[in-house]
């Protein structure tokens, strides 16, 4: 196998040299689903449900439940919906699980590819814009009922603060300065966060509110998985701050979840 050498600056070519997606496209490897015009029948595939993120004093906390549903049945109990995008950002997914996971993998590769080629990370704004483009590319699938709506957050190294972005199905990108939630239980989670959120929360409080909001959503929404002590399944939570991305220890999430559940009773 021979290597593809970079062409340098070619005025005829529109190719972005540092883009992994362009590279996939040149090799005909980009994830694409050749769907005809919708005939009214929707494809049915597992759905990832409730995710949320909230800003606090030093950064952003992101939490997701673990349930994936297919129609009215539970498809998976331990699905991961919150992922690292790179060392300083995180992405969470709601919607058609298969498409969303592929999108995350492509997004992660894209950020790492850029970082290695250019020797520097994309700005947080740049990452958020790129994700918007990826959501927009999914638009034809929306007409088949296959929707992916991510949440994106990260630590802006230039501004020195955590930032949070939401998306709509057509790739609209919105920056939020407090909290956001998406997925089937997103409404309930947001209602909970609205009642408890204030500026400059501590990390502990932000984490507790995030986990409690998922539990509150699970109370109302069958597609959201609440804490499951019997099987040892708890929400996944991550923190992005000045030190970068880190996953919150499962034991810590379990402890907080049990406290939150105890508070309710």
């Amino acid at each position: 196998m021979s290597l593809e050498l970079p062409s340098g600056l070619n005025p005829q070519s529109q190719a972005q040299d540092a883009s992994f997606f362009e590279l996939l496209r040149r090799h005909d490897l980009e994830p694409a689903w050749d769907v005809g015009a919708g005939d009214g029948r929707f494809v049915r595939a597992p759905e990832a449900t409730t995710i949320l993120a909230l800003r606090y004093a030093d950064g952003v906390v992101m939490v997701g439940d673990r349930r994936a549903t297919e129609g009215h049945t539970i498809a998976h109990r331990r699905m991961q919906k919150v992922y690292p995008a790179d060392g300083y950002s995180a992405v969470a997914i709601a919607g058609t699980a298969g498409l969303a996971m592929e999108m995350v993998k492509l997004f992660q590769t894209e950020l790492e590819h850029y970082e290695k080629l250019e020797g520097t990370r994309l700005s947080l704004e740049g990452k958020a814009n790129h994700l918007a483009r990826m959501v927009r590319q999914q638009l034809p699938m929306v007409f088949q009922g296959l929707v992916v709506v991510p949440l994106f957050c990260g630590f802006d190294e230039e501004a020195g603060e955590g930032r949070l972005y939401t998306y709509d199905v057509v790739g609209g990108r919105y920056e939020e300065d407090d909290y956001a939630a998406s997925g089937s239980g997103g409404r309930e989670a947001k209602a909970y966060l609205r009642s408890v959120f204030r500026d400059d929360l501590s990390e502990d409080d932000a984490l507790r509110h995030g986990i409690a909001a998922i539990a509150a959503a699970a109370e109302q929404d069958t597609a959201t998985g609440g804490p499951d002590p019997r099987r040892g399944i708890y929400s996944s939570a991550v923190i992005v701050d000045r030190a970068g991305y880190r996953e919150v220890d499962e034991d810590r999430v379990a402890t907080v979840s049990n406290q939150v559940m105890g508070d309710d009773q």
């Binding site: 196998m1 590279l23 790492e112 290695k116 020797g119």
Partner: protein
Amino acid sequence: MTLPYYVPPEQLMKDRAEFAQKGIAKGRSIIAVEYADGVLMLAENSSKALNKIGEIYDRLAFAGVGKYNEFEALRVAGIRHADLKGYSYGRSDVSAKSLANAYSQTLAAVFAETVKPYEIEILIVEVGDTPDDTVMFRVRYDGTLVDEEGFCAIGGQEDELTSRMKERFESGLDRAAALRFAAEAFERVEDRQIGPEEWEAAVLDRTNGRRMFRRLSADEITSARS
């Protein structure tokens, strides 16, 4: 009508090889040394912006000597190869061996088919789970592929550095000792002191998590050498 004049292939290849070797001999060397937790790469490079050593993938790194634009193009091609492979299959399927083979094919083709051969030499390093799984491949301007063990030098002062290191190398060094070993070899061969700002150093270290590549700062180099 004039006949195209005949050049015997032996002569043609010899001329090209000489041309490439001359270009490489002008450049400064790079050393790679295995230590207990990984591999250290060290180069003398006063530029902070133009690197000779770079990350390719989780466990893979690249080092190049010679003409910057040529080895930079190969570095970019290597990252593309690795990212495509890791994306299409799995992250653990990206290996130094397959990458080194691809480099070898590419450089052999460039050497034989283009007007000017590349004036470069490159090194591909992969750190395995144990020191036994660690591999280093050196690819020459004509595509010749050599695998090295323990330590290795490429570039202008390759022979002097290699013989110097051969006398003193021991396996199982820690990172600071490996850095002292490599820096001392450079300074002996060059017969002068080299300041901390003039080094470019990076490691592939098993303790760094998934992405093992990390550059060492001038402060880290100073403290390791003191």
